[in-house]
Point group: C2
Chain length 329, copies 2
């Protein structure tokens, strides 16, 4: 393990994984600003990814950290129906961090960025007590394809793309057992460590909205359905049936429960609360429902938007649940 001894040695690692030249960069890294070629509008999202808040080095490999820091941002572009165009990075490293960690981190980022041809536009480096990343991601967008929240009407279909509750189980078992948990809960751990942003869903739904001049709303599920659905619906209600929990969620719930019914309830509530799912949840007007469900082959119909402002899931009435960093738990 070799220690980092200069900023230049970090920049060498970065340059190896992310070339400074890129068709979209009119001016690459190494100047005061980078210059990104843009269309009429840019979708922008910023997410922090912080050690011991969002991840632990005990069970995240450096590559997992790099992947997920970028993935949670790209997930916001997916939810907006935007095309990824680039990202910038603020990276604070603990003292004595190894070159291997830095290399692994950028390798993980490049694994996600490479197929998307996403340039690293620039950023800043500093020291901190813990490893902190702040990613700002840029995406191309147009008024016609742009997907937003609070664009539903009563009667619209509510749909889901991706898994809910699986990453929450991954977090639980990784916290309890470290990476040994990957043997019994491989998909749950992968859902927590390496979420796959649902870019294809967003781009397809954006195109459908444009072609059909249709009413669609979309957001990514980062804080769990319980907390995110009210943000999507903006005061409207919904009557929902959650999909059957993933087998690993059922298996995990079985270990918390004294009988089968209790396990099923725990598994379902786990799906509702979720957190870090990086699924997408959306609504569409009824005439688009069939097309939407063919565009998201692994998607699920959750139910319908209602006008009574009440969220019902599997017969339960939703309360004030979900995660808030700043509340006392």
């Amino acid at each position: 393990m070799s220690a980092i001894t200069s900023e230049d040695s970090i920049l060498d690692i970065i340059n190896r994984h992310f070339p400074t030249e890129h068709p979209r960069l009119l001016l690459g890294r190494g100047d005061d600003c980078c210059v990104l070629a843009t269309g009429e509008a840019l979708a922008i999202s910023t997410d922090l990814f912080m050690e011991d808040v969002h991840f632990r080095r005990r069970y995240f490999t450096p590559g997992d950290i790099g992947w997920k820091a970028l993935a949670v941002n790209v997930s916001d572009l997916a939810a907006a129906g935007a095309h990824p165009a680039g990202f910038s990075l603020g990276l604070a490293l603990p003292h004595g961090v190894s070159a291997e960690l830095v290399d692994g981190l950028f390798a993980g980022m490049a694994e996600l960025a490479g197929p998307l041809q996403l340039p690293l536009t620039g950023g800043d480096l500093s020291m901190a007590d813990r490893l902190h990343l702040c990613v700002t991601v840029f995406g191309d967008t147009t008024p016609a394809t742009r997907l937003r929240r609070r664009n539903a009407c009563p009667g619209d279909l509510v749909f889901l793309g991706g898994r809910i509750g699986l990453a929450r189980v991954g977090l639980n078992v990784l916290e309890a057992q470290g990476r040994a948990a990957m043997d019994a809960y491989p998909e749950a751990c992968a859902a927590h460590l390496r979420p796959e942003p649902r870019l294809r869903d967003g781009l397809r739904l954006g195109a459908l909205q444009e072609q059909q001049n249709g009413r669609i709303s979309l957001m990514d599920v980062s804080d769990g359905l319980a907390r995110d659905l009210p943000r999507l619906l903006g005061g409207l209600g919904a009557d929902l049936q959650l999909p059957a929990p993933h087998p690993e969620c059922l298996s995990w719930a079985g270990r918390q429960a004294s009988n089968g019914q209790e396990a099923a309830d725990i598994a379902l509530k786990n799906c509702w609360l979720g957190g870090e799912d990086y699924a997408v949840v959306g609504t569409c007007e009824p005439r688009l429902a069939a097309t939407v469900m063919t565009l998201i082959p692994d998607g699920t119909v959750l139910g319908r938007v209602t006008d009574d402002g009440i969220l019902r899931w599997n017969g339960h009435v939703a309360g004030n649940e979900g995660f808030d960093h700043f509340a006392s738990h």
Copy 2:
């Protein structure tokens, strides 16, 4: 002092200082992404601003922290000749932080952003052991007005806009005496606490470059001339005379020295090493020299670019000086 108890209470404070609606925002904060209206290209820069690395709460007011976190980023736009268009913020707050601190922080940011009509495009909130900010700033730019580094030729004039060494003295006296240092060193402390980005210089020089199809280079001096000039000149040398140190720099140097000559030498070396000056340093071809100096009324001619790759200042040959977060000091 009221404690922060929910993310929503922070968002309320932010919304008070930064309205979500802004002419440049096609979609404001509160969705997965914001959408910024753009021209053909966007200049982008990211800077971290971290407690006990870049600032101390012992002598930075919350307003100073907010101001400087944004100012150091806007300074990068200034150096690129770009027009500020917006910024995003990753903000990590320590547990138990007060609403007054958060309010002061955004008030300080708004003091700088307001006159520039700069919208806060979005961001993310989290907890951390210390107060950490990561700002990404966006600016409008065109190929003709864009100013960059490494665009000098031997014989070009080297010029400076703003003060060097003053912020370094401010850091020293604030570290030693806290805000009591503001009595004896008001301008040095202000230079450290509330640097003024040299936006007007950058915009004027960018316009001159376009009008005259001229050769100009520019960068902001954030790590001190000793470290930043080689980045500007990209392998070329320069023969320079630094401007007379500010009276507060001389006064500070006098306290470190046993006689007047030693004090003058300390003061001059302090200007050369600098750090966090947020001045701009640039080069221009000789035919533009007179115009450049009228466009920067408080500017200074430092000297000429040479072809021998050696940096000389006041007869000294520059070594490998300046600040590196990752080197052992």
